[in-house]
């Protein structure tokens, strides 16, 4: 087996040094009734690279890659162009095959990346502090709610109806153990009066902008209403590129920001791995979940970086830790950091404007199709259409015509009657005018 360097002679020599007659002797602590023969496993035998490549390539070919057809799916995961340099750099052995930087003297590469990543995330979200990443946007949102419950010593979390339903369900799974989770009504294309729901037991309100229907939400009045009642505002962003064009959640008064970073540097990957961006006000630092990287000096006075404030974390605090998170999204955070370094201020703002311009052009085009109504008055690169027919079969019919025409809202919220005919459509810099034409033509066909 090509990955195993020991030869039969090596194994014999090693057993001799150990003083064991055979390999079974090393497993002598396992109860005999629990040892099974190889034949107990109904699985194939070892295969060469060529055979494995062939088998998996065959499976991959049965999927429709976003880049192979006109594709307009978003709703929390976005197709963007990732510069070639990103994937080259993240495959450097020293990044790819290193562990969590527990020995900082020989992990300064990873640590400096994390320090720069934390700075990038803080700048982008308009917050003072950011951590070294969480699993993804949805789990970052759940951690934000738990943090708000700890900070306010209150139990109730109010979730906007525009929060991505998968995010809302993820929050409910964990935050309902420590408190109560209430979801506001779903009002596609408009802002619910979430301020009216905030009371003296409210730990936090969770508002996504742009929301799951693509609508840009004004967080300022919600922040003011929350703060007036002693509650915190958690802002959720699922499209990180939007932060290049829109006012940051921090500038609008958010206390904690949970953001999906996939859009920058990371591929679609059928839903993971992605990278959760987590930022907060500095005064909340000691209640932050996850790893933090800090600047320090070495014994010779040189600047260096270490993981710090680990007394919040599971390996020190055990059951009193702020979170159980251990492994997070290091390599995806690196991809994010490299892509954002390549973009810089000018690149990101141009990319964000381009996304908005493309989506705006597509919205105008599709709104001309009979049986289509644009529901979203203000959006970044994603909007919602109300169709004359249920959206789910329309999407299937579009797929038959070679167009991945967005996400039917009913897939995310099957119990909302209002969602039935709604189609969530995203357009990015990767979509061409030919893509738009194909979508428009196919949609017109399907709706007549």
């Amino acid at each position: 087996m090509r990955y195993l360097p020991l030869t039969p002679d090596d194994r014999r020599a090693m057993l001799a040094r150990i003083g064991a007659p055979d390999i079974d002797a090393l497993f002598r602590d396992v109860p005999p009734e629990a040892v099974v023969p190889l034949s107990a496993f109904d699985l194939p035998e070892t295969q060469g690279e060529l055979e494995v490549d062939r088998a998996l390539s065959k499976l991959a070919a049965r999927n429709i890659a976003a880049g192979s057809v006109p594709s307009f799916c978003g709703a929390g995961a976005y197709k963007h162009h990732v510069p070639s340099a990103v994937d080259h750099l993240i495959q450097r052995s020293e990044f790819l095959t290193a562990y969590t930087p527990y020995q900082p003297e020989i992990a300064q590469g990873t640590l400096q990346v994390l320090f720069e990543f934390q700075t990038q995330v803080a700048l982008l979200t308009g917050m003072e502090s950011a951590n070294a990443s969480l699993y993804d946007g949805s789990t970052a949102t759940a951690e934000a709610v738990l943090m708000a419950q700890r900070l306010t010593r209150r139990g109730k979390a109010i979730l906007s109806g525009g929060l991505h339903p998968h995010y809302a369900e993820t929050v409910e799974t964990v935050a309902s153990l420590s408190g109560e989770v209430a979801r506001a009504a779903v009002m596609p294309g408009s802002a619910e009066d979430i301020a009216a729901l905030i009371d003296g037991d409210t730990a936090c309100v969770v508002v996504q902008s742009p929301d799951v229907f693509g609508l840009i939400r004004n967080l300022r009045p919600i922040a003011e209403a929350a703060h007036a009642k002693g509650a915190l505002l958690i802002a959720v962003v699922t499209e990180a590129v939007s932060l290049g064009l829109l006012e940051s959640p921090g500038a609008q008064g958010a206390d904690i920001v949970a953001c999906e970073g996939q859009s920058i540097g990371n591929g679609l990957n059928f839903g993971g791995p992605y990278v959760g961006l987590f930022a907060a006000r500095e005064k909340f630092l000691r209640q932050m979940p996850g790893r933090l990287c800090g600047e320090t000096v070495d014994a010779a006075g040189k600047r260096g970086f270490v993981l710090t404030l680990s007394t919040r974390e599971q390996h020190i605090r055990r059951e009193k830790a702020t979170s159980n998170v251990c492994t997070n999204s290091g390599l995806c955070a690196l991809a994010f950091a490299i892509h954002l370094s390549l973009l810089g201020e000018e690149g990101l703002t141009r990319l964000a404007r381009l996304n908005h311009a493309r989506a705006s052009a597509l919205a105008d085009r599709l709104a001309r199709v009979p049986g289509v109504e644009l529901m979203t008055p203000a959006f970044f690169n994603e909007f919602t259409l109300k169709l004359s027919k249920p959206a789910a079969p329309v999407v299937d019919a579009l797929a038959v015509r070679g167009v991945l025409g967005g996400v039917p809202a009913s897939r995310l919220m099957p119990h909302e009657a209002v969602a039935k005919n709604l189609l969530i459509v995203a357009a990015t810099e990767t979509n061409t005018d030919e893509d738009f034409a194909a979508f428009e033509t196919a949609l017109a066909e399907v709706l007549t």
Partner: protein, 522 residues
């Protein structure tokens, strides 16, 4: 090995040479990288994009007014920056990385290539069902491998890492307890457990009750059984445990746990020692997460991403979280909503958006198909053989608290052999850095003093193990002889000397900020 010095004017690398500071601050191939914020500037970018104008009309009056503050760099500058940074990292590709309990084994590059096939890497999670049949088939095949290797009937695929898998398992247990109309709030956790175990139990709303270890490094089964009662929801046991030992009483423990109406959660972090030889399902386990980045070698990436699928027994399978993968005449399908549940399914909720770490699933299945069942078993055996080889080769000069019998995939030492030398486990570890090795796991598990946990994995040749053993013997002998020179102030030859972690925590600087005052001109 001796060096042929003919033709050399002087011995290289004398201490004096090393102390001569360079003008640049770099030293040969030892290149420093300033922060991107210190080298970036305005008016430059590494991505060419058209400069389109946008109307305000559709931005809800929320267009960004202030600059973000990101530095601008061209592509060559970005490449140089990250290449320089990469060279300050140790990596398994560069050398033996014996971090106990972390399993730093070889990461086959085929797996990287497979994960990047457009059909996987560029597949949208909410693409229509017909566009994703290959991906769903792959997940189904991986589920078959995981359930077959573990001898368990079901598996939840969405947890994003080991700790997330622990949470998934405990939430399934919570749901099962509630479904029986019972109230059980206590979880028993051995004191040798990884920190995520008690943290997860608390996170899932349980109270944690620690179970002591016996002098032989195993959990005290009698103490554990004595703690069982009507308020105990589960035990969380790592097997093989964090001392690198198999818990031989596991079947009896499982029976007692079940008799008390509780569930058996197994931390599967060390499954790589037994995969292909022992099925956790045969041991009476109800739930176990599998760190795909450990046993099945998806790269650690400097701290993730991981993936933590959880295998479940018949007692817990019904409570697996959404989404569920099912098949019918039209192929595979994800059930994402409670109204469509198959008979008997009672999911406790959802762990995350979408359906788990697909990129890791592809890599793990690629690893499994390459190894086959025979290769998986051989890998476990080689990992155990290599750890025992290290244990046998070092226990006379270092101190192995449980060294009388064989270990599993990792060899545990304590700091008894350093007694009286004034040298600590930390000093010993840092001296290993100067010798070109990543240190072993230090000060964990907590049940022995000054722990050094060495996990060589199956990826090392005998020659590599022999070199490593020779270096550790050399260090141990010098330490015991009171020769402190290599230990005081180590490391000397790393990109940094010892870093001041206390100062970092006392006044945290967690991000770069521009200098508050403009630089005065000289």
């Amino acid at each position: 090995m001796s060096m042929n010095n003919q033709g050399r004017p002087s011995q290289p690398g004398s201490a004096q040479d090393n102390e001569l500071p360079t003008i640049s601050g770099d030293r040969g191939l030892d290149l420093e990288a300033r922060l991107i914020f210190e080298i970036g500037r305005g008016g430059v970018t590494g991505v060419d994009l058209p400069d389109v104008k946008v109307a305000e009309a559709r931005l809800g009056g929320l267009r960004r007014k202030d600059a973000i503050g990101l530095p601008g760099l061209s592509e060559p500058e970005v490449i140089r920056h990250y290449v320089r940074l990469s060279r300050q990292n140790y990596a398994i590709d560069a050398g033996l990385y014996p971090l106990g309990s972390c399993t730093m084994k070889h990461n086959p590059r085929l797996n990287e290539k497979m994960a990047r096939l457009p059909g996987f890497g560029d597949l949208h999670p909410l693409a229509p069902r017909a566009a994703t049949q290959g991906a769903l088939t792959l997940i189904s095949e991986l589920m078959t491998w995981l359930t077959t290797l573990t001898g368990m009937p079901a598996v939840a695929m969405s947890p994003k890492a080991g700790a997330h898998g622990e949470l998934c398992g405990l939430l399934a247990i919570r749901a099962a307890v509630a479904a029986r109309g019972e109230k059980r709030d206590r979880i028993l956790v051995p004191e040798s457990a990884h920190g995520t175990n008690p943290a997860t139990a608390a996170f899932a709303g349980f109270t944690v009750d620690e179970v002591p270890a016996k002098p032989d490094g195993r959990v005290d089964a009698a103490a554990l059984k004595a703690k069982l009662g009507p308020d105990v929801a589960a035990i969380m046991l790592t097997n093989p445990n964090t001392c690198g030992l198999f818990e031989g009483e596991v079947i009896g423990i499982a029976k007692a746990v079940h008799a008390a109406g509780a569930y058996f959660y197994c931390d599967g972090a060390n499954f790589n020692a037994i995969a292909g030889r022992v099925r956790p399902g045969d041991l009476g386990i109800d739930a176990m997460h599998i760190n795909l980045h450990k046993t099945f070698s998806t790269p650690h990436g400097g701290g993730g991403p991981g993936a933590g699928p959880v295998v479940l027994s018949d007692r817990l399978a019904a409570y697996a979280p959404l989404p569920l993968l099912v098949s019918d005449a039209n192929g595979f399908r994800l059930i994402e909503d409670r109204d469509e549940l198959p008979k008997g399914a009672k999911p406790f909720g959802r762990m995350c958006a979408f359906h788990g770490q697909m990129g890791m699933f592809v890599r793990a299945l690629s690893y499994m198909l390459s190894h086959g069942r025979d290769g998986v078993r051989q890998a476990s055996e080689d990992a155990v053989l290599s750890a025992n080889y290290i244990l046998a080769s070092l226990k006379d000069v270092m101190s192995a608290p449980f060294g009388d019998g064989p270990c599993m995939h990792e060899a545990l030492f304590d700091d008894t052999f350093l007694e009286g030398s004034g040298i600590t486990t930390l000093d010993f570890a840092k001296a290993m850095i100067d010798e070109g090795y990543h240190p072993m796991t230090m000060y964990f598990p907590l049940v022995v003093h000054g722990a050094m946990l060495i996990e060589p994995t199956e990826s090392e040749s005998k020659e590599s193990l022999d070199r490593f053993i020779a270096v550790l013997r050399g260090l141990a002998e010098e330490a015991k002889a009171g020769k402190r020179k290599r230990f005081d102030g180590a490391p000397r030859y790393a990109p940094r000397r010892r870093l001041d972690e206390t100062a970092a925590a006392r006044k945290p600087v967690l991000r770069w900020k521009p200098d508050p005052l403009p630089q005065a001109a000289e």
